[in-house]
Symmetry: C2
DNA sequence: CAGCGTTGTAAGCAGACGCTTACAACGCTA
DNA sequence: TAGCGTTGTAAGCGTCTGCTTACAACGCTG
C-alpha cells in the first residue's frame, strides 16, 4: 500500500492494469451484457493476460459488480430528480459518446442470474426511488417503476430489436410523445 | 408421406416426437429465451434423444423459428386490434396458464442474434403494425412502437428484474395507470 | 547482492455447448 | 421372409466457457 508512481510509459503497474480491465469491462458489459461478454474479450481489449482479471477481481461476477458500483450511481448523483427521466431517455436514445451506460448495461444483462441479477435489482431500485419523488400520488413508487419500465422498453425495442420506425426516429419526437404521456404518471397534483 | 396412425400407446411415432419437441421448446424458449435454452434441455423435457431434434428441425435456430411461427401469430389472429394492447398487457402480467407466450419469448430472447434476431424483428413488426391501426395520427407507427416498447419494458422490469412494487402489483392497478397514459398515444382524434 | 513478494505469461483443466456419426430396432412392402 | 427405409439410441467431435496452475521477470528491502 505504498505510494505509486503516476508517470506514463510504465510496466508492472497493478493499478493501471486494474483500471484497464475495469474500463474494458464497462464498455463490453454495456454493449453486450454480462452473459455475452467473455473474460477473454475483456482481457484482450484491456491488453492484459486474462488470468490477471481473476487475480484482481476474483471472478467475472465480481468484476461486473465493480463496474456497476462505479458507473451505476454516477448519473444518479449528477442529475437532479426532475431531469432524470428525460436525461436517461436521451442518454439511451443517443448511443454515441454517452459516458453513462448504467441503464444500457442493466438492459443488456437482463437475461443473467446470480450476482448479476442482484446488482441489476439494486440499480433499478435506486433509479425508481429517485423517480418516485417526482409525484405525490399514493402509488408514487408503482408509477416510477412504470416510467422506468418504459425507458427500458424503448431502449430494448430500439437498440436491441431495431424495430422501425422507433429505431430510426428523431430523439426529439420520441421525447415529446413519451413526456406527454408520462405527464399523467409523474406530475404533482397541486 | 403415407397416412399415419393416430392411436395412442404408440412407439416410433415421428409426428408425436416432433410435436413433443415443439411443445418442450415453446415452453423453454418462453421461460429462458433462446440462448439460455439448450438442445439437451429441450430433448430431455420432450423425453426424446437430442439427436432427433436435429433430424426433425435441422438446427436449434430452425426449431426456434418453427416455435415462433406457430405461436407468434396466434394471438394476433385471435385478438381484435382495439383489445390487443390490454390483452397482451394482461397476458404478460399474468404468467400462469397463458397459452400465448410469443411476447415472453420475444422478450427473453432479446439478447440473441442470428436468425433469432430476425424472427424477433418480424414478430415485433407484426404487433406494432396492428397497434398502429388504433390511431390516425400521422406518426401512428412510431406511437405503436412506443406502446409496444412499454409493454416489453413492463414485462422486463416485472418478470426479469423483479423490481418492487411493480413485480407484486395488482394487474388491474397497472392496467389502469398504463391505459390512462397511453390514451394520449393511441386514441383517435375522432 | 541475496532474498522475496509483486506483476505478468503460457498452458491447461473440467464442463457445457451445438451438432454429427455409427449403429440398433422396428415395421412396411414385395 | 428378405430387404429396406424409418425411428430411436449412444457416443463422441470440436469449440468455447470461467477459472487455475506453474513458472518467469521484475524491483524493492535486508
Amino acid at each position: 500500500m505504498t505510494a505509486q508512481s503516476e508517470e506514463p510509459g510504465r510496466k508492472r503497474d497493478a493499478a493501471a492494469t486494474r483500471q484497464a480491465l475495469l474500463d474494458a469491462a464497462a464498455k463490453l458489459f454495456a454493449e453486450r451484457g454480462f452473459d455475452r461478454t467473455t473474460v477473454r474479450d475483456i482481457a484482450k481489449l484491456a491488453g492484459v493476460n486474462q488470468s490477471l482479471l481473476f487475480r484482481y477481481f476474483g471472478s467475472k461476477e465480481a468484476l461486473f459488480e465493480a463496474v456497476i458500483a462505479r458507473s451505476g450511481r454516477e448519473q444518479l448523483a449528477a442529475t437532479p430528480a426532475e431531469r432524470l427521466f428525460s436525461t436517461s431517455l436521451r442518454s439511451m436514445l443517443d448511443p454515441a459518446g454517452q459516458p453513462n451506460r448504467a441503464l444500457e448495461t442493466y438492459l443488456r444483462s437482463s437475461g443473467s442470474d446470480g450476482v448479476a441479477a442482484t446488482i441489476r435489482h439494486e440499480v433499478g431500485r435506486e433509479y425508481a426511488g429517485v423517480l418516485a419523488t417526482l409525484t405525490d400520488a399514493p402509488d408514487a413508487e408503482l408509477r416510477a417503476d412504470l416510467a422506468l419500465a418504459w425507458l427500458m422498453g424503448i431502449a430494448l425495442v430500439r437498440e436491441i430489436s431495431g424495430l422501425e420506425p422507433l429505431a430510426g426516429a428523431d430523439p426529439d419526437d420520441i421525447c415529446r410523445l413519451v413526456l406527454a404521456a408520462t405527464k399523467t404518471l409523474l406530475e404533482r397534483s397541486e
